[in-house]
Amino acid sequence: MYSEDAKDIKQEESRPWGPDSPEAYWNETTRLRFVSIDPVASPKGPEYYRDVHQRIDNELAAMHMAMCYAKSRRNAIAPISRLPPEIMSRVFSFCVPDLHAYDTNLEWIKISHVCTRWRTVALNSTNIWSEVYLQWGEEWVGEMLARSKGTPVDIVGSHNAGLTRRKVGDIVKHLPHTRSIEIGNYWDRKTLGDVNAVHQLCLGLHAPAPILESISLTSHEVHMHHPYPLFNNSAPHLRAIYLYNFTGFPWTPCFATNLVQLDIVLNLKFTGDHDMPSPSIDEVLDVLRHSRALEYLVLVRCFGPIRGGRRPGHRIVDLPHLLLCTLGMTSLSDSLHIIKHISIPPSAELRIVLNIDPNIADETFGTVFSSLSERITNTEDMPFYEVIVRYSDDDEHYDEDLEFVISRSSDGLCDTQTRHGLFLSLCTGGTNEPHADLIKSAMRMLPNAMGALFHIGMSMDRDTFRPRTDGTFCVQDWLDAFGSKTDVHTVYTDRNDGTTFCVALGMFMDAEGDGVWRFTEEPDAPATRRYFLPKLSSLTLYEVHFMETVWFYGYELPLYVLFVMCMKARQRANSPLETLHLVSCRAPDADWGWLKALKGVVGSIELSKDGDLDPD
């Protein structure tokens, strides 16, 4: 049983507290301990004074230690010190930045500099020393690994890791209790700097890694020429392998047993590079054959040219637990060729990613798009339901590229609803999208495919509406392509894309210079122009948060805004929205009156059970 403050301790425990005043303490206790000297009354020789001098120095040192001890005792009764070590350890764990936030600041280390107890607790909290950034100096990398005292460690080194021989030595030394290694960050797109050190590291990692669960090796400039003897073919708990432009991995089935995720990605610029030997399809298929637990498989441009039909003598690789398979070979036929060798469960999501040469003409692009569209529409048993066509002029930054997605189903978007038909998803990079012609071209190529549409990932501001003179994409282009379609009756939008329903309902967001976002009608449009889909009968909002304030991308907005938009839509179309689906929507600060008002302007409101909106 503990009590709540120092007063309670004093009352409950019987202790000799010593004299009540400093003067009494000095006279009764401390003063008696000091060496008594009187050089005038009894002069002595030099040896005596040297001896006394030394004794006084000792007294001073002892007093300093006494001061520290007294402070320790005072610390011991401070409220924070009465927390058990395991709680203090938990507090410290929250002071350590998350490993994957790539916050390499070491300021948090000061927790071990506060007092002796904090240092003791911190040094015994092995978990707070178990996340090691290679960006740190050599001393700290070694110190952290030592302080982890054999607990599982995660090692991360992104760009500028400064991978020196000493760091490499420390990593290799602690391999037996290393849980994960991430060398190089895919999104950094930067090299680790010291090519030889990376090479040395890979050579050094030849000992068994008994608890290693994940390894991620990324190179953006460094070519890994040879398979390295990693982990002496012994990493029995390896569950995830991520290799980005790293071709030096030894493709042996011994790593496959518990594998859950396998990513092998080669950048476009390395494709066909004969100095950078890719794994053969046979090697990878052999690994996959032993990866019965695999759930995620990503193979992008990782093989050389693939020829012919099914490889002779090869049995189909069965991956019964596969959830997602992304294939991005240099041609559609290559991707389809891989599919022939893998048995993918019907429930798995299969994505085919195609990179289109940036210099191709619109006609070529349109041909590809049209061809895909036709195949998906006409082939019921098409083995995939989503095709991503990535128009890339810079493979290093493909996340900023224009991306088209064609899918047969929007299951992935709204789990609670299954829709069929062909959907087009446009993900654009914002108002300065330089691919307006391509977008328009793609739209023309899908004249009859627009049973529904969703996800126009476009930031919306006043400028977005104005026609462009520089060929960039604007809302008017979108309207030209979609707004005039009379058969668009359903719009989906997810939390990252509130703008879609803004357009659908004829409203947009604008900041009037004061930084506050408002929903308004288009200010400069002639009265005859309508940003509205005349046959829109169903609107689905997915994961929108109804808040008091408006957030730029629209996934946080007040309910009254939705009400106003729906009401205006009704006035314009002279018919209400038949159904408003609110899927996984939440309203922590909502004014419920507006939800009731919404019921008056739409036919019905359907709520998914996983949101927190009250159906009543």
């Binding site: 049983m1 709540e4 507090v91 929250f94 300021e107 071990s112 002796t116």
Partner: protein, 173 residues
């Protein structure tokens, strides 16, 4: 271990679906609370299991004040019926889960109160509350200098010169 005193059923109704518990704080305040609310506390759950084994119901004496106890009850009431991963004894040890907005407001109290709540939560074995309090304390000291940390949490530098200049404290990133 808390002191346990016997109570009769007229003091603590124990029948029906909403059984009640009698909690007694260190300042001798008697607080009746639904058992269901306090089920988040592993300590209370174990006590209740003990009651069921002996077919006797008791008041549970707790070593913290009614003020602190009421705060804990407020927390448990708020999350009544909620599944919180941290409180699942079968779940993996809690990591650094995202902060819950309500918890932030709930723990917007002075330092001493926060420390009392975390001790009470630890005693009652409410891991989610311990985690939230620990995060709140960490927030108080994050980004602060060593001296500021000492000042905020009322501790002094008690290192000897040798300890202060030990090799491990000289390491710099």
């Amino acid at each position: 271990m808390p002191t346990i005193v016997s109570v009769d059923d007229s003091t603590v109704p124990g029948e029906g679906s909403s059984r009640l518990l009698l909690l007694v704080s260190s300042d001798n305040k008697h607080i009746v609370v639904e058992e269901d609310i306090m089920s988040r506390s592993r300590f209370i759950s174990k006590q209740v299991e003990g009651f069921e084994a002996t077919s006797q119901r008791h008041a549970i004496l707790l070593p913290f004040s009614s003020f602190v106890l009421n705060k804990v009850i407020e927390y448990c009431s708020h999350y009544r019926g909620y599944y919180l991963l941290e409180d699942d004894p079968d779940a993996a040890p809690p990591g650094r889960s995202p902060v819950r907005e309500w918890d932030q407001e709930f723990l917007d109290v002075d330092r001493n109160m926060l420390l009392r709540i975390i001790k009470a939560a630890h005693y009652l074995e409410i891991k989610s509350l311990v985690g939230s309090c620990a995060r709140a304390i960490a927030d108080m000291i994050r980004g602060k200098t060593t001296e500021e940390m000492r000042e905020i949490l009322g501790v002094e530098n008690d290192f000897t010169p040798e300890e202060e200049h030990s090799p491990s404290s000289k390491c710099t990133g």
